[in-house]
Symmetry: C2
Subunit: 355 residues, 2 copies
Amino acid sequence: QPVHRIAVIPGDGIGKEVMPEALRVLQAVQQRFSVQLDLTPIAWASCDHFAAHGDMMPPDWKAQLQDQHALLFGAVGWPATVPDNVSLWGSLLKFRREFDQYINLRPVRLFEGVPCPLAGRKPGDIDYFIVRENTEGEYTKLGGIMFEGTEREVVIQESVFSRHGSDRVLKYAFELANSRPRKHLTVATKSNGIAISMPWWDGRADAMHAHYPAVAVDKQHIDILSARFVLQPGRFDVVVASNLFGDILSDLGPATTGTIGLAPSANLNPERTFPSLFEPVHGSAPDIYGQNIANPVAMIWSAALMLQFLGEQAAHDAILRAIEATLTGPRSEVTRDLGGSASTTVMGQAIAARV
Amino acid sequence: QPVHRIAVIPGDGIGKEVMPEALRVLQAVQQRFSVQLDLTPIAWASCDHFAAHGDMMPPDWKAQLQDQHALLFGAVGWPATVPDNVSLWGSLLKFRREFDQYINLRPVRLFEGVPCPLAGRKPGDIDYFIVRENTEGEYTKLGGIMFEGTEREVVIQESVFSRHGSDRVLKYAFELANSRPRKHLTVATKSNGIAISMPWWDGRADAMHAHYPAVAVDKQHIDILSARFVLQPGRFDVVVASNLFGDILSDLGPATTGTIGLAPSANLNPERTFPSLFEPVHGSAPDIYGQNIANPVAMIWSAALMLQFLGEQAAHDAILRAIEATLTGPRSEVTRDLGGSASTTVMGQAIAARV
Ligand SMILES: CC(C)[C@H](C(=O)O)[C@@H](O)C(=O)O
Ligand SMILES: CC(C)[C@H](C(=O)O)[C@@H](O)C(=O)O
């Protein structure tokens, strides 16, 4: 029976409120299943740590984390004290890159019991995966500012796409699509406007498609693709996208299922050379922090995805069933964003009790 | 009484189907109002022209167009014969740049009579403007491919932001927000991930805000901003965005109002040194071309925006009222995307008759 080593990193804002609920659910899982978790709490990778030490993480962060099997991550960001690009590049974006978590897998699903913001859609109508490239693309610190501070100021921002980086995420997405009944893959692009990287990306998608003839491919420009997330969500099965486009689509998709408070994500290093990271799609949400009203489902579902990645499928399934039962249960056990009256804690307790 | 010189450029696909309806409405406007239009039909800036001449436009295109007051544009793109980046960079994107149409103004509005894809929203709940930068930013041909065709292939794509380009679009957006009752401006950003250009863009927005203290500013990252277009559309009044973000938001916003078949846009050179360009947000839609089913409203509303820009406010208002009346009128006079049965032609005739 393997012991799974997990670093628990709440981070900032509501990350600190939803993490205890994920831990409560993991506790329940350990009682019911023969799952063994070795949890290490980490207080750094937070703006509090930055305030005290002038950096988001200690210099030996990598050594401290690299023998973990997984990182369970809340949210980072407290713009009142640390600019977002400093806090994120100093923590989450560093993990994604230095631990080569090149797949960001984000399920989008409309649950029973959750009022849908799209008119006339019911559970089953929205059910797809977003596969987001997670290490390169539009997220870079490359480029610079010329004639800085003058009227002539010009800024260059570089995006970097590699064949290595693009092919592996495309391959993952084709494999996933191929394993599903519909075998349908949407490729996000913007090759009509972004003239170097995107036509090249389209070419890599075509080349990969040659290896998966059974998969039907639909290339869509990001503008109309975003529109179709709203107008024709049933069209989607698996969607593969660059870092930026995946970021946008994976907030938009969950929004169409009621609330981004439900959306989990798995930042995967599929080869398991480094720990993978599991986090809610939502951020630290300074505007609602401190009120104990954040929806804990995204965090709890992320913990379930972690167990699945660690081979604990039964435990994952039990958590998912507990989430589903809670979402269709009494409104006194769900948070306000779902029309209920529960606090974060009460909803977490309700899910843990059902595991 | 001024004569307005207008080049009429249908382009490709459904551009060729909706343009005649705009001309029909302009005809009606000239009969009812003392508006004088001198229309010049242009068959180039189309993939048909490319097929015949190997280029989207004749070498003297600029000389042919620069004395026009406005360009009324349908849609360009026929990917079966010409790659989208070739056709668009050879026509529309060239107009935007070489005629310095640096404002792309896109109204988003939920009309009476149009079924809303968002649950429980009614006319008045969605009513905002997107102000999109239209000449620089993420749309460039700068960068290149290294180790091309090998496993080591790396692609650099550069975005370019200038103070000149950013300040003028921010200023336009602040002016617009300042002129509206709510005086609210949303600034689209992604400064947590895109580390050079976007923090700089945030700084330019802050600097411009200092000149418009009465305007309330809400900076939002593009991912959560897209989610809020679905979840909280009433939050928006004026939204200012870079070229790419504006492109995405201006398909997504109209999608939440029922169909992108309604959405118009004005590509403005506010100084009137060059002609401005008016076009529907939708593209050439090869999938529905040839069936005479495209919704002509986006094209007709674009023509109305053109008249407004040319000083013909009464004519603009008459067209808008005719559109509104048609949308709430019999279903036999609206197209299928609105739940009706009309052809493009019948709907165009219905609007023209009401002018
Ligand atoms: C056709 C394409 C290049 C264009 C753009 O991306 O600007 C279109 O989507 C638009 O929004 O006008
Ligand atoms: C916080 C931010 C840098 C991050 C991203 O853009 O990747 C977040 O939005 C996400 O989607 O995980």
